[in-house]
Amino acid sequence: MLTAGLALALTLARAQTPAQAQTPPQVQTPAARRDTPNTDETVAVQRGTRLMVNNFAGEVIIRTWNKDQVHVVARHQPRMKVGIHNSGAIVGITAASMSGASGSVDYEITAPAWMPIRTEGTYNFVTVEGSQAEVFANTVRGDVTIKGGTGSITAKSVEGEVQVDGARGKLTVSSVNHGILITNTSGEIAADSVNGAITMTAIDATSVDASTVNGTITYEGRIADNGHYSLETHNGDLLLGLPENVNATFTIRTYRGSFSTDFPLQGVGQNELQRGRRVTTTLGTGSAEVSLETFGGAIRLRRGTAPTPRRRGGS
């Protein structure tokens, strides 16, 4: 039944005329919709079950509790019908249009904290709060906000901000056009953007891999002994605020950018940093590996708080 439901939703989505496809449905937050919910159902679940929400357009808010139940509240136009399918392995939530073009559905879902969560959609604004399990959220247009999460956490948007707070585990985040904000997070981080900035504060990670084309990358947090950190951008700046007693080997490369620091680092003057030449310098025992690369931006390394980003046009 899950397969049929998903197939129905996808078929209806594809069956839209080109004119309809060019106009996204009106997305209203639950606050804007004061009418009674159209769907209010609770299903019992067993440990090991995963939650999958496939929503073409709308808002998906997922909170957690300590009951072994999934409570689904949905608000939508009358022509939309929400289906909840519990196969034992997966609780799948989808919506289909009974007639005409697909509309938006706004969900408020409460799931067990242990339940792995996956949401996909096109015009979707996603919030997941309080999860103690894996979280996967992928949307095209819409913000993704994840608070909590343990293990594998993935948050992707093309045109939308991605925010992750309080996650513990392996984090993969991507926003093409907007910014990424990661706070109070530990584990391993992989963050990617084209034009958006990547800002990481209060981080306790053993591995960070952050990359943009034009966005500024800001990192404020611990540098773990034997950790690996790679910050790379084309024309964006790299701004780091590190603890006083950091033990790291810095490898710095820039083609026509600049470097400044208030740490006692040797050998990183403009004479050394020419045309992409690799410069290596060490603080403390040098146990962590920190790689900083920018084609034309500025690399600024400060004790404590990271420098504030420069005002740039368009980024």
Binding site: H228, T249, T251, G286, E289, S291
Partner: protein, 167 residues
């Protein structure tokens, strides 16, 4: 690790990233084991061997650990071609006297590393493997084809020599 998977499929850029990430530790191991002799060339040997054997990495240990073991094997294979190798395990006490006294520099670590470089070959290899790299005596015994007893004795000798260079 995704980079390892890509490198194992022939992605040279992914392999270069692995090379850059692990180079300091590998070069340090090679340099200390060989007292700086041919360290650069041997380091290159290590990474060529890693490239050749990437497809055999099973993920049952961390990549760093696997790579490091390969590095140790490459260095020891080079030693095996050294016919005077066995003799290195039996250097006399007179070697103690050839080590220069501590230099008056502010960076104590250089003193220690310089002293490490001047240790007799066998004692140095075992000290690096045991105290720097964390190998156990039975592992060292297998790697260097010596008895665990010799490994312990050489380790103690190395430590006793190096303690003079902490002062």
């Amino acid at each position: 690790m995704a980079e390892v998977a890509r490198a194992a499929k022939g992605d040279v850029r992914a392999f270069e990233a692995l090379y850059r990430a692990h180079l300091p530790r590998v070069h340090s191991l090679v340099r200390r084991m060989t007292a700086g002799r041919d360290a650069d060339e041997l380091t290159q040997d290590v990474f060529v061997r890693v490239w050749q054997k990437l497809g055999t990495f099973r993920g049952d240990s961390s990549f760093g650990t696997w790579l490091h073991r390969l590095a140790v094997n490459v260095v020891i294979e080079r030693f095996r071609t050294d016919q005077a190798r066995r003799a290195r395990m039996h250097d006399g006490e007179e070697i103690f006297n050839t080590i220069a006294g501590p230099a008056l520099t502010r960076d104590i670590r250089l003193d220690f590393e310089a002293a490490l470089e001047k240790l007799p070959d066998g004692a140095r290899e075992i000290f690096v493997l045991h105290d720097v790299e964390g190998y156990k005596h039975h592992e060292i015994a297998t790697l260097l084809e010596i008895s665990p007893g010799t490994s312990k004795a050489q380790l103690h000798r190395a430590r006793m020599m190096l303690r003079k260079h902490l002062k």
